[in-house]
């Protein structure tokens, strides 16, 4: 059922609060009437449309296949690469278990053992768990939403190639015996005094991958809020999409603190700026804070997507809609928030005041409430339905059992006094593996069994799947259950061997046996995944599930969906009879590609009313080159080769500009397009209706978080050190700081005013303003750098943090200047016109954030220290 009367768009439809700035808005009839949705379709016309769509969306032939950007290809490569890294990291664990099988073993050296446990943790977290979520989501999300593709396909491809290069670089270091060896959290001072390149490889290699992760998060958030099919309001989104939205937002707020931490850490390692050196006013605890503000939400960033998979499998197994959709949304959003209040529970033994520990302990207990709610919602759904114990459900059931056990030990270690006993012992190793296996690995494998028929149009083996499950489940408990006891008996983590007479021998041997049983289970799964499976399946919807995904074609057509449906239910395939046939015939929106362009429909964020037909980007090499050069910009500094790093960075920027200029926000041949069912949509929009604007907005939220983390560092020093700033220290030059603030404000103003002036048609005036903005921005950046130029950043942490903030601001200004220049060039060469001004909207949006950065920077550099 829908709102009763379909209206002429422009009356009830146009919403002044959303679209007042648009030159063109949707016209025609929405929502479609019953007659429109049952009108007969001309088969000849449908065939011609189908041919055109196929031609546009097909993968490039031959070796050019690798330039593909379709979500189905990129998602597949991404997930297989992440799985390969998982297997490598698992092999490292097997070697460690062999080393620990018997006391006083000398299979591998202490240093190699250190490298292995560091890379086991780092790879499982950064190269497997998070990328796997992004990979699977890129692969599946458009299908859940009945969209043709993600909004920025080339961004996905860029993220993938960055991930591949960074992952090979970081993992490859092990082959040269040069891997990072300081533990996956890289605590200074151990890692700041390390003379090798290991910590640099970790910091720069993983920063690079974090950038790729944030790129994917931006893509997924925009995909969820702007690419839903018409009618799929926010209360109808598949639960998977809710989790993607929450997790994407969490990545945005969790990863940037680590990037800020990496920035400071690398400045210390490369240039000896003493952020973590207590002798010159620094503090190693700052790193722990920044790391765990990332590190704890990270656990939930891993856990929630897997629960999202469970939330799709459980209703299919129970053959009924999820009980308590609202409760699941509550728990996903609630967990997303509360998980940011837990980070200090990794730091219970660092000597913080008891009352501070108490806050984090309390929040750690509070997060159990939403987590428990979602498990109960699953159990209630299973109780209320008629459960078919399909294979994916078996894995989910195993996951729930293991995760609950891990959650119970979690409640224990969340209590500070208990943690003081168990900290850094094998008890914690057992706890974290119970949560991560139960919260990630089991649901993920269950999800692969569940979604494989969609991805490859074939079924995996029921028999191998059950063998794999029982091997993995039993092996897991043999391996990790004894570790609770090993830990309580006092065995510390990260020791490469132990003496034979303290009662740890048998337990360790049992764990090692269990580890190999797990490996056997995973090997069976891996074989089942890659083995040739013969002919394609016949039934499109093998689990009889209700989401749009199972309207897919066998064999695969790369267009995503034949036509974009009008959705009025949470489970359209269950509740909207005939929807699949109608989609197949091209009876819904956008069934054609007359212009030979890849297109999908953009809808409004909450109510999914159609707003725009967006032209998405197609196959390209420039994304791969951009990733390659970005890799150079991060990898060369590892070896202190700065000139090639700078050249790489410049080339990377050039590739990105080429990619944006040639394929995004292209001036359409026609401002409006008929998308079928009596609806005409604009082919070009700017501002908040445009996916690109949302991409900039969301990226900048993440960027702001990183900046806030830097500022947090500044005030952290002030809080914990009575001598910050040192009483006789030189301050930044006040006049330069003030000038910088003024220049930034003026540059922002010029850019902001240029937008309406350009829209009004006074293009020359807009060009003058943009040029002035560029000059003022250069002046602002120069002034803030000059204000700190006289200070020596290696002498003390106070000048060092001022320098870091100034450098951060200046580097962001370069981006701002490039964007202003892009708009200026756009107005000159016909890429930007009064009517088609999306780049200016995006630039102004960026400048809003840059203005905040600049004003906060100038305040803390110039003003605040004089008041302290």
């Amino acid at each position: 059922m829908t709102d009763a009367t379909p209206s002429r768009i422009g009356e009830g439809y146009r919403r002044a609060d959303l679209e007042k700035h648009e030159v063109h808005v949707a016209e025609g009839i929405y929502p479609p009437t019953e007659e429109m949705l049952t009108a007969p379709i001309d088969p000849e016309l449908a065939d011609a449309q189908k041919e055109r769509l196929l031609a546009v969306w097909n993968d490039p032939p031959g070796w050019r296949y690798w330039s593909a950007v379709n979500n189905s290809e990129v998602g597949l490569w991404y997930s297989l690469t992440a799985f390969a890294f998982m297997l490598i990291a698992g092999c490292l664990a097997l070697v460690m278990r062999l080393q620990l099988a018997i006391p006083d073993n000398d299979l591998i050296s202490a240093d190699r053992f250190n490298q292995f446990f560091t890379m086991h943790g780092s790879a499982m977290m950064f190269l497997f768990a998070v990328p796997m979520f992004e990979a699977i989501s890129i692969l599946l999300l458009p299908a859940f939403l009945g969209a043709r593709d993600m909004p920025f396909p080339r961004l996905s491809a860029y993220g993938y190639w960055s991930f591949l290069i960074g992952g090979i670089f970081v993992m490859g270091s092990l082959l040269f015996d040069a891997g990072p060896a300081g533990g996956w959290f890289m605590y200074p001072p151990l890692t700041t005094i390390d003379q090798g390149v290991g910590p640099d490889i970790w910091l720069l290699g993983l920063s690079f991958i974090e950038v790729a992760s944030i790129a994917a998060a931006v893509e997924l958030i925009v995909g969820t809020i702007k690419c839903r099919p018409p009618g799929m309001r926010i209360n109808l989104m598949p639960l998977y999409a809710w989790y993607v939205l929450v997790v994407g937002a969490m990545i945005l707020f969790a990863f940037p603190p680590l990037i800020a931490g990496d920035f400071l850490f690398e400045l210390q390692r490369s240039f000896d700026w003493p952020f973590f050196d207590p002798e010159r006013g620094g503090d190693p605890l700052l790193w722990q804070h920044l790391f765990w503000i990332f590190g704890h939400p990270e656990v939930y960033i891993i856990f929630l997507p897997s629960i999202a998979v469970a939330a799709m499998v459980v209703p299919a197994a129970a053959q009924r809609p999820m009980v308590g959709y609202n409760w699941i949304v509550l728990s996903a959003v609630g967990t997303g928030f509360l998980s940011f209040g837990l980070w200090v529970h990794h730091m219970f033994t660092t000597g913080l005041p008891s009352i501070s520990l108490g806050f984090f302990s309390a929040a750690s207990e509070a997060v159990v409430i939403p987590t428990g709610v979602q498990l109960f919602a699953f159990v209630a759904t299973l109780l209320a339905g008629r459960v078919k114990m399909i294979l994916p459900m078996l894995w989910i059931a195993g996951a729930l059992a293991i995760f609950t056990a891990g959650g119970l030990t979690g409640v224990m270690v969340a209590l500070a006094p208990f943690d003081w006993q168990a900290h850094d012992s094998y008890f914690v190793v057992a706890h974290l593996h119970y949560t991560l296996f139960g919260g990630m690995v089991f649901p993920l494998i269950g999800g692969v069994y569940f979604f494989y028929p969609f991805i490859r149009k074939q079924m995996m083996s029921e028999r191998l799947g059950r063998i794999s499950f029982w091997l993995t489940f039993v092996g897991f408990n043999i391996c990790f259950l004894p570790m609770h006891l090993t830990g309580l008996k006092g065995m510390p983590r990260r020791v490469y061997t132990y003496p034979g007479d303290v009662g740890w021998d048998t337990l360790n041997m049992i764990s090692t046996v269990g580890a190999f049983v797990i490996a056997a289970g995973i090997a069976v799964f891996a074989w089942d995944l890659v083995r040739p499976k013969g002919k394609l399946m016949e039934d499109r919807n093998p689990w009889n599930e209700g989401s749009l995904m199972w309207s897919h074609r066998i064999p695969d057509h790369y267009w995503g969906v034949r036509s974009i449906p009008y959705v009025t239910s949470r489970n359209p395939l269950w509740d909207q009879p005939g929807i699949v046939e109608r989609m197949d015939q091209g009876g819904y929106y956008l069934p054609d590609a007359q212009e030979g362009l890849r297109e999908t429909i953009i809808t409004s964020a909450i109510d999914a009313r159609p707003q725009h037909v967006t032209r998405v980007t197609g196959p390209a090499w420039c994304t791969m080159w951009a990733a390659f050069f970005t890799g150079g910009a991060f990898i060369f500094p590892t070896f202190h080769w700065y000139p090639p790093a700078v050249i790489s960075a410049v080339l990377a920027v050039a590739c990105v500009i080429y990619w944006l200029w040639t394929s995004t926000a292209r001036i359409p041949e026609n401002p409006m397009k008929d998308v079928n069912l009596g609806l005409r949509l604009p082919t070009y929009v700017s501002g908040p209706s445009a996916p690109g604007w949302w991409g900039v907005f969301i990226t900048m939220l993440g960027d702001m978080t990183a900046f806030a983390s830097l500022i947090f560092g500044y005030f952290f020093y002030w809080t914990v050190h009575p001598n910050f700033p040192p009483p006789l220290a030189d301050h930044a030059n006040g006049a330069w700081v003030a000038l910088s603030a003024l220049c930034y404000a003026a540059a922002w103003g010029a850019t902001r005013v240029a937008r309406p002036i350009n829209r009004s048609g006074a293009v020359v005036m807009a060009q003058v303003l943009l040029s002035a903005g560029i000059v003022l921005a250069i002046a602002g950046a120069a002034a803030i750098m000059l204000s700190v130029a006289a200070l020596d950043p290696t002498s003390h942490v106070y000048p060092a943090i001022l320098w870091a903030i100034a450098v951060w601001t200046a580097v962001h200004t370069i981006v701002g200047i490039i964007m202003q220049g892009y708009c200026l060039a756009g107005t000159i060469f016909g890429k930007v016109m009064p009517e088609y001004d999306a780049p200016i909207w995006n630039t102004v949006l960026f400048w809003h954030f840059l203005l905040i950065t600049a004003l906060v920077s100038t305040a803390v550099v110039g003003l605040v220290p004089r008041m302290m």
Binding site: I234, Y325, S356, S361, A366, I369, D607
Partner: protein, 127 residues
């Protein structure tokens, strides 16, 4: 008045209202954490005074969350049709869904704020 007759305001399609209550929780959490950290590091006074400040934060935040929860309860408007499943593509169902979810988030935030006040009672020491 039946739910589908009611006017649908821009505020009713604002997802940020739904997450306002947990945002208050986050602000409360930061406030108590930062205040306690500064208090202990700077030796600003007695623990009793710190407790009083924390209770003050809590009172203000609980009232705020209470108001937000009440607004979301009104938006859910449960008693007009006893509707707690919002699975149709209508303004009414979307409005009530956001209200329902926001109301439950407010309840969760209320409990979580109380949780985060308890250390000021049971672990009130800078040791």
């Amino acid at each position: 008045m039946a739910g589908h007759m009611k006017t649908d305001l821009p505020a009713h399609r604002n997802i940020f209202r739904m997450i306002a209550a947990p945002t208050v929780w986050a602000i409360h959490f930061l406030l108590v954490y930062c205040t306690a950290a500064l208090w202990c590091a700077r030796d600003w006074g007695s623990i009793g005074a710190l407790q009083a400040v924390i209770f003050g934060y809590t009172a203000v935040c609980l009232i705020l969350v209470g108001i937000l929860g009440w607004q979301m309860w009104r938006q859910w408007d449960y008693f007009d049709d006893n509707d707690y499943i919002h699975d149709q593509s209508t303004d009414e169902h979307r409005r009530e869904f956001l209200g329902h979810a926001g109301f439950m988030l407010a309840c969760l935030s209320f409990v979580a704020i109380i949780f985060d006040t308890m250390p000021a009672i049971f672990a009130a020491t800078c040791q």
